[in-house]
Symmetry: D2
Subunit: 154 residues, 4 copies
């Protein structure tokens, strides 16, 4: 599929992304963490936990969407200029199979990095008995808010 130009516009892109991710209290609550990071790409992983499930004992679709949205949003943020923050506009998720496994991996890839809007796709896989199984696919839009730094100024 068409790739976007994956040139960071902020030399501090990596620290900026990791600090922003670290401020998300919800990630700590559910146990999500950055697995891999490069300009325009972000992977988020989350180990299965019995307190994150839907009615049949699989990982809740809301948790799947949460890690997908984080992988997508930080993939977009990694390409944004210094002094800006990232805002989720919309996302669409297709659920492809039961979210059953020991570990879940969401991989976000920017497919268009515009000045204002970025389009990102994200793939979520479950690790089950050592094999990857497709769980979800996301197509999402993020907005760059220039002049509104993500980091709170103390």
């Amino acid at each position: 599929m068409a790739g976007a130009k994956l040139e960071p516009r902020d030399p501090d892109w990596e620290a900026k992304v990791r600090e922003s991710f670290a401020r998300q209290t919800f990630m700590e609550t559910i146990g999500g963490r950055i697995r891999a990071l490069s300009p325009g790409r972000c992977e988020v992983e989350l180990p299965f936990r019995a307190d994150l499930c839907q009615q049949h004992g699989y990982l809740h679709g809301g948790v799947v969407t949460t890690i997908a949205a984080n992988a997508a949003g930080y993939a977009a943020f990694s390409l944004m200029p210094a002094g800006s923050s990232v805002l989720g506009v919309e996302y669409k998720v297709n659920l492809l199979g039961a979210a059953e496994g020991e570990l879940f991996i969401a991989r976000g890839t920017v497919i268009k990095a515009g000045r204002t809007l970025s389009v990102v796709e994200c793939d979520v896989q479950a690790m089950r008995d050592g094999k990857q199984q497709p769980v979800a696919r996301m197509l999402a839009t993020y907005m760059c808010l220039e002049g509104k730094p993500d980091q709170p100024v103390g």
Copy 2:
């Protein structure tokens, strides 16, 4: 907007929905609960908590999506026949404003209840200083799995 026929096909629809919701461990983890329920409609509410936030201290979009998907999915399930379970197919969410408030309310309404597929829309509002503020809108598809009861047979 066009309404669907909101006639339940299962006389036990309400108990079925409440029991299924109660088996979602993730709802207990984040504090979501059913606020209102009628055939083809379901409201889920969730009080703000500081451990459910994104990087700016607002409710995480994944939590917003989670309560929206539950309101939508159980609205659909309320109209499904006895002995079936509900499967999320896909959803699309537009984020309309900062998820800032003391309480969040997701209202799902079935707009088409087909034999196999149901289409549901869901509106999420924040209660902020006693006023409702729009947070998100969802348009979602759910599938009825006939002959696969949602309740585990002990």
Copy 3:
């Protein structure tokens, strides 16, 4: 559902919308026209034609989407300031029933009119034997390009 503030910011909003619509050659090709127009709302209608069909003789889903996107986009454009143009960002369409009928009506309503982005929902109905039947539901995002007038300056 939550309504947006439907105050036009351009006194010439109606002429602007009608002129822009009239420049769409594709609308003339397929026979679409504005049925009703008010700030934040636009209805587009299209009579059935045998040369606009899919493989079973119903109106093609692409035609359904076209009139929905026009109703949605011009609903958004009606609220944008003078000197700006409207850009489609993304849309999602759920097909609710066979596009069978004599006339198709798409009704777009702005649910959020932001400075940069607008969110619009659109409902498409078929007139069949004098009755409306649901055909599709759309949830869409449009962008305001300020300082880029829609009208070509001659």
Copy 4:
């Protein structure tokens, strides 16, 4: 991205797809045709025409969506069993750039081929001065109607 099993279940898949496509009068009206076809993949191309445009003289987004939906739908149909027909459930389209060019190519690829539902992604590119430029990305769901042949029985 994760690939689906691309094994056709109907030995006549190619004739079935081409015949169904040929019955779409709208494809003839706008000049769309199959460019390439294999199990689980379908490419549709459409030359630019001045009577298919939006208000700025670019190809109308509805035409872009039409060829994307056809590429996606026939990619899904190519994997469906004999005696079934394909029904569009929903699609989401992100518009990535101006639909400006001499020729437009939509490439649909099945990412999940389920018994009832298939998930397909589709990429649309414009050929402009001999180079491909991204126009749109679609993520779509199609349903298999078993026992309802697509071909009309004369």
